[in-house]
């Protein structure tokens, strides 16, 4: 039972991914296939983001109240950068402050970071694919895959 409670999010994401994947491999129409790719990829983003979540966490944006402390740290670092050997000490100094800062539970920022990149990759792929569709439409006058194959067979 705990399994279901703990994992159902993943299962829904898997269902979404597989729906997208199905649209891709069902191969009805070129644009439909691209839409499928899009849904497939978007669902993968969801998979990653789901991983990063921590119960009762908040977005990894440090609260303004810590701004002052962070500011102090900043000085420490700059100071450390000027005198390399002091860097370590400065970092340690920060950890003390950091404990203060992470009293707040943050969700993991890394999946977000990765997915920002992945979203860009996704849109790039989509744009390229759509450009190809436009080209194919110019050449064949249709975007139905079986019609195109038919035309190629006859040519």
């Amino acid at each position: 039972m705990t399994e279901i409670l703990g994992l159902y999010n993943y299962w829904i994401v898997i269902f979404l991914m597989m729906t997208g994947f199905y649209i891709v491999i069902a191969r009805e129409n070129l644009i439909k296939t691209i839409i499928g790719l899009n849904i497939f990829q978007t669902s993968v983003f969801l998979l990653y983001i789901t991983m990063g979540k921590v119960t009762h966490g908040t977005a990894p944006i440090l609260k303004a109240s810590h701004g002052g402390e962070s500011h102090g740290v900043e000085h420490g670092v700059e100071h450390g950068a000027e005198h390399g050997h002091e860097l370590h000490a400065a970092a340690e100094g920060h950890v003390d402050l950091g404990v203060d800062a992470v009293k707040e539970v943050y969700s993991n920022p890394i999946p977000s970071v990765l997915m920002l990149t992945a979203i860009v990759v996704g849109i790039a792929t989509t744009a390229l694919a759509l450009a190809l569709v436009v080209r194919i439409r110019e050449e064949y006058g249709t975007i139905e895959e079986d019609e195109i194959l038919e035309m190629d067979r006859n040519s």
Binding site: P60, L62, N108, L116, T117, V120
Partner: protein
């Protein structure tokens, strides 16, 4: 409490995805894709990933939809027959059997579900991803990035800066690629071009 929002969103997501899979009208499919992206973005927001959520809303629901609509306006709007959205739009195509893709998808899906059984549970604060590396990115980024409050931005610009560079390269590549694909051959080349049928294969 949150579940009251989450569960409807998830249900809607699933419903939208299935609709896209079944619908035959391409305009409608594109619109539903936009909705799907938007719903995803909402869920991402709930999952504490506002940066991704905003990007997904802008890129996925916005730009992608626009691009697709633009493409559609250049290409036939219906997958096959014309007309308004109707029951006909959900017909199965007789020519292709959906069984094989369905089988593949089921197997892949089952494999993934099988894989989830050993995964840390949703939201588990003790998952490897949350406890490693130590100090965490949130903690480490503070001194390293001069206290930039948004850790995601900080990490993007620092530790994973080369991913960001790669991301830029991807966009650039796609830009060049689209230009290459869509640019018309402005002036006709010498006649040698017309007699060449390099790749032709009867």
């Amino acid at each position: 409490m949150m579940d009251f929002i989450v569960i409807p969103i998830l249900a809607l997501l699933a419903a939208t995805a299935v609709t896209v899979a079944r619908i035959r009208n391409l305009w409608a499919a594109v619109m539903f894709t936009g909705i799907y992206s938007f719903l995803s973005a909402s869920w991402m927001l709930i999952l504490d990933a506002p940066d991704v959520a905003f990007t997904e809303a802008a890129v996925g629901a916005g730009i992608t939809t626009i691009l697709m609509l633009a493409t559609l306006s250049l290409t036939p709007r219906r997958q096959r027959k014309s007309g308004r959205l109707s029951s006909e739009d959900f017909e199965e195509r007789p020519s292709k059997s959906p069984l094989l893709p369905l089988l593949i998808v089921t197997i892949t899906g089952c494999a993934l579900v099988y894989g989830t059984f050993d995964m840390p549970h949703f939201g588990d604060p003790n998952a490897p991803i949350q406890v490693y590396p130590n100090p965490s990115f949130v903690e480490k980024s503070q001194p390293d990035m001069h206290g930039l409050p948004n850790v995601v931005t900080a990490v993007l610009a620092s530790y994973r800066g080369y991913d960001t560079l790669g991301e830029t390269a991807v966009i650039f590549t796609a830009g060049i690629a689209v230009l290459l694909i869509l640019r018309k051959n402005t002036d006709d080349q010498s006649s040698s071009e017309s007699q060449s049928v390099t790749g032709e294969n009867a």
